[in-house]
C-alpha cells in the first residue's frame, strides 16, 4: 500500500471504502489518480455506493494477491483441454496407430489381447485399469499394480498386436494437467495435497474476485460492447479487462465453482464429518461410495503393505458384449479388474466419458471368474447428479473437437482477463505515483527528472513479466525439450520438467533485473520474443528430430499431429508479434502513439510526457 492517500485518522478503520475510490475498476477509474489525492468520498456514503466500493477494493486485492498463480492455473488448465493430443504429440513413437471408434465391437478383442500381454508380463497382477483406445488416444494404456495399495505402473500397448510400445519417458500433456490442479513439479508427485490446497485458495479468491467484480460493475451490459483501444493507456486496459471478463463470465463462474466442488472432500469436509459420523468415527468411504452410486464394499480400503490375492484369468469378450447390450450399443470407455472388500474378483466396465455430460460415467460390475453380471453403479439422485454435471463441464471429456476448441478459447480469454487485470493494477499504480511524482517535482526539479516507482510497484511489474511472458516461454521450452533431450537420459521426464522450471526461473531473473533493479524497456519484449521463437521453432525442431513432422503429417491428412505443429507455429507468431509491438524503439512519443493500441507494457499507458514514460518504463 502506498502511504499518500490522506485517509482521515478517524476513518482509518473503514479504509476499504475510502481506498476504493482509488482502486475502483468501475466507472470512476479515469478519475482515480485525482481522487486518490483528495478523496471525495463522503464520510457516510449511501449504502449502495459503499458496498460497491468495498467490493471494488476486495476485487482489486483478491485479484492481485494470487493473480499470478491464477494465471498459471488458468493457462495450464486451458492447455489441458488438449491433454490427450499433447500426450500423443510428445510420444512420436505412437505415430501410425489408427484412431479407433470406441463403438466398434472389435474393441473387445483389443482389450483381451492387451490383458493377455499384461498377464504374461505380470502374472501376479492384483488390479488393473485399462482405458480403451478411442478417437483421441489410439493406444491401449494399462495402469496396473501387483501390490495391495501401491503406486500404479503404466503399460502402453499397440491395439492391434498387443505388443508394448516403447515410448520416450515424458509426462506429456499430463504435466499441464497435474500442474493445473496440484502444482506438480516432478513426475512422481511431491506435495500433491499441499499443492491442491494452494490451488484451492487461489480458486476461492478467483470466485470472490468474480463475484465482487460483477458487483463492482455498474454498467455490465454497456461495458459488454465497450472497447476503446484508441483511447490508450488505462482506459484500454480497463476495457480489455471488462470485455474479457464479461464475455464468457458464465464459463468462469462454472469453471471456478466446479473446481472448488471437485475437491470439496478436501477443501470443505465439514458436511461429511457430521452427516457420515458413525460409532467408529467418520466413514468417508461410505460417502465416496454414495457419491459414485456404488456399494461401499466394492471399493475396499487397504494399507500399503496388505497382501492381495492375484486376479484369476478373465475372459473379457462376453463381459464386454453384455455391457454393450445393456447400454444399448453405447461406447465402452475403460475396463478394470480388482478384488472387492470381500476378496471377490470383479470386473468393472465403464462407459465412454464422451457419452454424456455428467461425470463419472455409469459402470457395470461383473464377476471376474464367471463373467456374470452383478450390479450397476451410477449417481442418480438430483444433487449428486448436479455435482456430476459440474464435474463433467469442468473436465470437458464430453466435448467434440469443435466444442473443445471453443472451450480452449474461453480458457484463453480467462487467462487474458487475469493478465489484463494484473497489468491494469500496474498501469493504474504507476499513473498515480507519476502524478504524485510530478507534483513533488514542481517543488524539486531534480527529483522529477528521475522519478522511481516504489519498490512494491516495481516488484509487481517484474512478477507480471515473469508470469505473463515467462510462463508461455516455459511451456514452449518444455515442449521443445521433449524433442531435444536424448532418449536414454536417466529420469528423462523430470529433466523435461527441469527445462520448464529453468526457463521460468530465467524469465523471473530477467524480469527482476529489468523491472526492479534497472528499469528498462526490454523487460517485456525479450521474454516474449524468446517465447515466440521457442514456439515457432517447435515445428522445425520436430522436423529435425522425428518423422512425424508437417512434411509427412500434412500430406497424409493426419490432423491430430499436424494440428499441433500448426497451433505451435501460430502461438509462436502471436507471441513474436506481441514482442515486436513492445520492442524498445517503439516507445510512445505522445498521446497519438500511446493511443494506437493496448499493449502488454505498462509503459505504453503512462502519461504522455516522453521523459517520464522512458524513465519509469518497465515499472
Amino acid at each position: 500500500m502506498n502511504t499518500t492517500t490522506q485517509a482521515p485518522d478517524a476513518a482509518a478503520e473503514r479504509a476499504p471504502t475510502e481506498r476504493a475510490a482509488a482502486a475502483a475498476p468501475g466507472g470512476m477509474a479515469a478519475e482515480a489518480p485525482r481522487k486518490a489525492k483528495a478523496p471525495k468520498t463522503p464520510k457516510a456514503p449511501n449504502d449502495r455506493e459503499g458496498f460497491r466500493q468495498a467490493m471494488s477494493w476486495l476485487h482489486t486485492w483478491a485479484g492481485l494477491i494470487l493473480g499470478w498463480l491464477l494465471f498459471a492455473i488458468f493457462l495450464t488448465g486451458t492447455l489441458s483441454f488438449f491433454r490427450s493430443e499433447f500426450n500423443l504429440w510428445m510420444r512420436p513413437e505412437m505415430h501410425g496407430l489408427q484412431p479407433m471408434d470406441a463403438a466398434d465391437p472389435q474393441v473387445a478383442q483389443t482389450a483381451q489381447k492387451a490383458l493377455d500381454a499384461l498377464v504374461r508380463k505380470v502374472p501376479d497382477v492384483t488390479q488393473w485399469i485399462m482405458p480403451l483406445p478411442d478417437d483421441r488416444d489410439p493406444a491401449v494404456n494399462i495402469l496396473w499394480r501387483d501390490t495391495g495399495n501401491g503406486r500404479f505402473e503404466t503399460l502402453r500397448m499397440h491395439p492391434q498386436t498387443g505388443e508394448a510400445i516403447d515410448t520416450r519417458q515424458t509426462m506429456g500433456g499430463d504435466f499441464f494437467y497435474r500442474f493445473h490442479f496440484e502444482l506438480r513439479t516432478a513426475q512422481k508427485g511431491r506435495w500433491a495435497i499441499e499443492g491442491r490446497w494452494v490451488v484451492g485458495v487461489a480458486t476461492m479468491l478467483m470466485f470472490v474476485a468474480l463475484i465482487s467484480g460483477v458487483i463492482t460493475h455498474r454498467r455490465i451490459f454497456k461495458d459488454f460492447f465497450t472497447f476503446r483501444p484508441t483511447k490508450g493507456g488505462q482506459r484500454a486496459w480497463l476495457d480489455a479487462h471488462n470485455v474479457t471478463g464479461v464475455l464468457v463470465l458464465p464459463f468462469y463462474l462454472m469453471i471456478t465453482f466446479s473446481g472448488l466442488m471437485i475437491f470439496h472432500s478436501l477443501y470443505m469436509p465439514a458436511g461429511i464429518a457430521t452427516a457420515y459420523k458413525g460409532e467408529k468415527g467418520v466413514d468417508s468411504n461410505a460417502y465416496f461410495a454414495d457419491l459414485q452410486g456404488e456399494k461401499a464394499e466394492s471399493r475396499p480400503r487397504r494399507g500399503a503393505t496388505d497382501k492381495v490375492e492375484p486376479l484369476p484369468a478373465i475372459a473379457l469378450h462376453s463381459i464386454l458384449t453384455e455391457a454393450r447390450t445393456r447400454w444399448d450399443g453405447g461406447r465402452i470407455g475403460s475396463v478394470q479388474a480388482r478384488r472387492d472388500a470381500k476378496g471377490r474378483a470383479v470386473v468393472e466396465v465403464t462407459r465412454h466419458e464422451g457419452d454424456r455430460l455428467q461425470y463419472r460415467p455409469p459402470r457395470l460390475l461383473f464377476d471376474a471368474t464367471t463373467g456374470q453380471w452383478l450390479d450397476q453403479a451410477d449417481a442418480t439422485s438430483p444433487a449428486v447428479k448436479t455435482y456430476g454435471v459440474l464435474y463433467g463441464l469442468h473436465m470437458a471429456r464430453f466435448a467434440d473437437t469443435g466444442l473443445r476448441w471453443a472451450l480452449f478459447g474461453f480458457g484463453l480469454l480467462g487467462s487474458l482477463m487475469i493478465a489484463t487485470g494484473m497489468v491494469l493494477w500496474s498501469v493504474k499504480r504507476s499513473a498515480k505515483s507519476h502524478t504524485q511524482a510530478s507534483r513533488k517535482g514542481a517543488a524539486n526539479a531534480a527529483d522529477a527528472a528521475t522519478p522511481r516507482a516504489p519498490f512494491g510497484e516495481r516488484l509487481v511489474a517484474a512478477i507480471n513479466i515473469a508470469t505473463l511472458a515467462g510462463l508461455p516461454l516455459a511451456c514452449g521450452v518444455y515442449i521443445a525439450s521433449n524433442r531435444l533431450i536424448p532418449l536414454n537420459v536417466e529420469g528423462r521426464a523430470d529433466v523435461e520438467l527441469a527445462w520448464f522450471f529453468s526457463a521460468w526461473g530465467l524469465a523471473l531473473l530477467w524480469a527482476l533485473a529489468c523491472a526492479v533493479v534497472r528499469p528498462s524497456r526490454m523487460g517485456w519484449s525479450v521474454p516474449l520474443g524468446a517465447a515466440g521463437l521457442a514456439w515457432a521453432l517447435l515445428p522445425v525442431i520436430n522436423a529435425l528430430t522425428t518423422h512425424t513432422h508437417l512434411g509427412t503429417t500434412l500430406p497424409a491428412g493426419e490432423w491430430v499431429w499436424a494440428g499441433m505443429d500448426l497451433a505451435f507455429l501460430a502461438t509462436g507468431l502471436l507471441l513474436g508479434w506481441l514482442s515486436w509491438r513492445l520492442r524498445p524503439g517503439r516507445a510512445p512519443k505522445g498521446k497519438a502513439a500511446a493511443a494506437k493500441a493496448p499493449r502488454t507494457s505498462t509503459a505504453a499507458a503512462l502519461p504522455t510526457t516522453p521523459d517520464v514514460s522512458v524513465s519509469t518504463s518497465g515499472a
Binding site: 500500500m1 502511504t3 490522506q6 485517509a7 482521515p8 485518522d9 482509518a12 478503520e13 473503514r14 479504509a15 476499504p16 459503499g50 458496498f51 468495498a54 467490493m55 477494493w57 476486495l58 483478491a62 476461492m204 470466485f207 470472490v208 463475484i211 465482487s212 458487483i215 465453482f257 472448488l260 466442488m261 470439496h264 470443505m268 465439514a270 458436511g271 461429511i272 464429518a273 457430521t274 452427516a275 457420515y276 459420523k277 460417502y287 454414495d290 457419491l291 439422485s381 438430483p382 444433487a383 449428486v384 448436479t386 455435482y387
Partner: protein, 102 residues
C-alpha cells in the same frame, strides 16, 4: 509523515479484516455446511444433504469474505463471521453433545 500513525493502524485493520475473511469466512462456511448437512439429512439421503450443503457453502464463504471488507469496523468483520460460525457449529455438534449427556 502526518499520516504515519493512521497508516499503521490502517494496515493492521486491513490485515485483521483479511484474516477474518479467510479464517472467519471459512469457519462460517464450514459451520454452515456441517449444520445444513445434518438438517437436510433428516429429509433426504445423506449424500444428497452433504453435496447440497457443500455447494451452498462456497456462496456463503464468498458472502462472508465480502462482509469482512464491507463491515464498518474490523471488529464487525470478525463478529459477523465468527458469531454465526459458532452458532452453526454448536447446532452441528448438538446431537453429539446430547447423546453424550444422555
Amino acid at each position: 509523515m502526518k499520516t504515519a500513525r493512521a497508516d499503521w493502524r490502517y494496515r493492521l485493520a486491513i490485515t485483521s479484516r483479511a484474516v477474518a475473511a479467510v479464517g472467519g469466512g471459512y469457519a462460517l462456511a464450514a459451520g454452515f455446511t456441517a449444520a445444513l448437512s445434518l438438517l437436510l439429512a433428516q429429509c433426504m439421503p445423506r449424500v444428497e444433504a452433504v453435496i447440497t450443503a457443500t455447494m451452498l457453502a462456497w456462496v456463503v464463504y464468498a458472502i462472508a469474505a465480502g462482509w469482512a471488507f464491507y463491515a464498518r469496523t474490523a471488529w464487525g468483520a470478525w463478529g459477523g463471521t465468527l458469531l454465526p460460525a459458532l452458532v452453526l457449529g454448536a447446532c452441528a455438534m448438538a446431537p453429539q453433545w446430547m447423546k453424550a449427556a444422555a
